[in-house]
Symmetry: C2
Subunit: 250 residues, 2 copies
């Protein structure tokens, strides 16, 4: 068949919600954690602005305890707002270079942290984080890696969302020539991105995306626009030994 | 907010895979079972052609036993092929009026039957089946029902597929004015359908849809084209008392 996938290419799958992660073999794969609004956008921004490292934790209690032990900044949200007892929230604008450079951030978020720990429990070969903020670093790294890739969307309490799907679609659109993409979710995501790409913010508004409403309700239009912009914090983010760190894309 | 949903409209949600069904309350809802390739297309066709009723069962063994007891036709597939021990498969072209009129069909399929039984176990208020073959009957019924709607895709072994998503999107596109659609999966499905609608078969081919390959591998292009065509077996199909039957859309 002329359009059959080439067996020697690595595979790429899109997992639109953590509820589907168990269907995929993560052991031989790089897993890209995607939580566009706003965890992985904020992570890229803080590391791009010189944060020493980010430690993602499951609970608010762990976030408070660990940040005190390490004299680190505590940050996190629940249901899109700063969680009680923490110093900062989940908006990328909290993490300017003046503030965050050289510091350690202990972070807990609703969906992104949970997914990262699920990927870890499933023995992912390698974990990186993805956002439009660091899009080019992500695709450059994946394009060079010659490994299987799982694009894992954090979604919203296990329900599929538009923004994480759009990012997965952007990656698929860019990399489909380098991978065997025998995965309908990837094709759906890429088609959505192709429809939306000229104006991601306008698309979110037009589609009445659930997260668009949630964040606009908090007055976070600036966050939304920032998190839907390519490469404003273009750094590769890897998770190793319990820490997210900026890395070279080579 | 100008574009806030009207509280007095019923809600509409799209569930792209059975793995997500538990996130939704089915008790107050009409659940539309969607298994385009090919269970729900074949069901519409057989009933449109005068089958007395269709009894969906979980297992091949139950299908053989029950069809013998009832002197009914046994049919079903596993992984897209006629299951061993059954008389017929899952292609709509097996169920012409000459053959099926007045007969009872006992049917088991890989994904659709399982989803139907999941919806039943979750106390769905009402269950109907949806396919492009009976598109107009489905949207007419849902548009008149003034009840909450769950569009439930059978998917493929819990992985999201293009064809079920396209059908959900077609329904959303048609009915979005009548429902509160605060559901990103519905918006994604509708956007996909809008992109694909001028040539659904061509879209499936272009997207390299996994099921497109699976069925084309069986030589089932005719099935594929048929199952992606609107209203060629336009009958409303309801599930009641263990049976799928043709009903009035009023």
């Amino acid at each position: 068949m002329a359009d059959a996938p080439f067996a020697d290419k690595p595979t790429l799958f899109t997992v639109m919600t953590p509820s589907l992660l168990h269907l995929y073999d993560l052991k031989q794969s790089i897993v890209v954690i995607i939580d566009i609004l706003r965890a992985t956008s904020t992570i890229a921004t803080a590391l791009h602005n010189g944060a020493k490292e980010i430690i993602p934790v499951d609970s608010i209690a762990a976030c408070i305890r660990l940040s005190k032990q390490m004299e680190a900044v505590s940050a996190g949200e629940r249901d899109g707002k700063i969680a009680e007892g923490l110093q900062f929230g989940n908006t990328p604008f909290d993490y300017s270079r003046e503030f965050i450079e050289g510091k350690t951030l202990v972070l807990t978020t609703t969906n992104g942290t949970r997914l990262l720990h699920m990927a870890l429990a499933a023995d992912a070969d390698e974990i990186i984080t993805g956002s439009f903020c660091n899009f080019s670093s992500v695709v450059r790294y994946l394009g060079n890696c010659k490994k299987n890739v799982i694009l894992a969307c954090a979604a919203w309490k296990d329900k599929i969302n538009i923004e994480d799907t759009l990012f997965a679609g952007a990656v698929v659109s860019q990399l489909k020539g380098d991978f065997t993409v025998n995965c309908d979710a990837s094709h759906i995501a890429a088609s959505l991105y192709e429809t939306a790409k000229t104006d991601l913010f306008g698309f979110m508004r037009y589609q009445n995306a659930s997260h668009y409403h949630r964040l606009m309700g908090f007055g976070a239009e600036k966050d939304l626009r920032y998190c839907l912009t390519h490469d404003n914090a273009d750094v590769l983010v890897k998770y190793e030994n319990g820490r997210l760190k900026a890395c070279s894309t080579e």
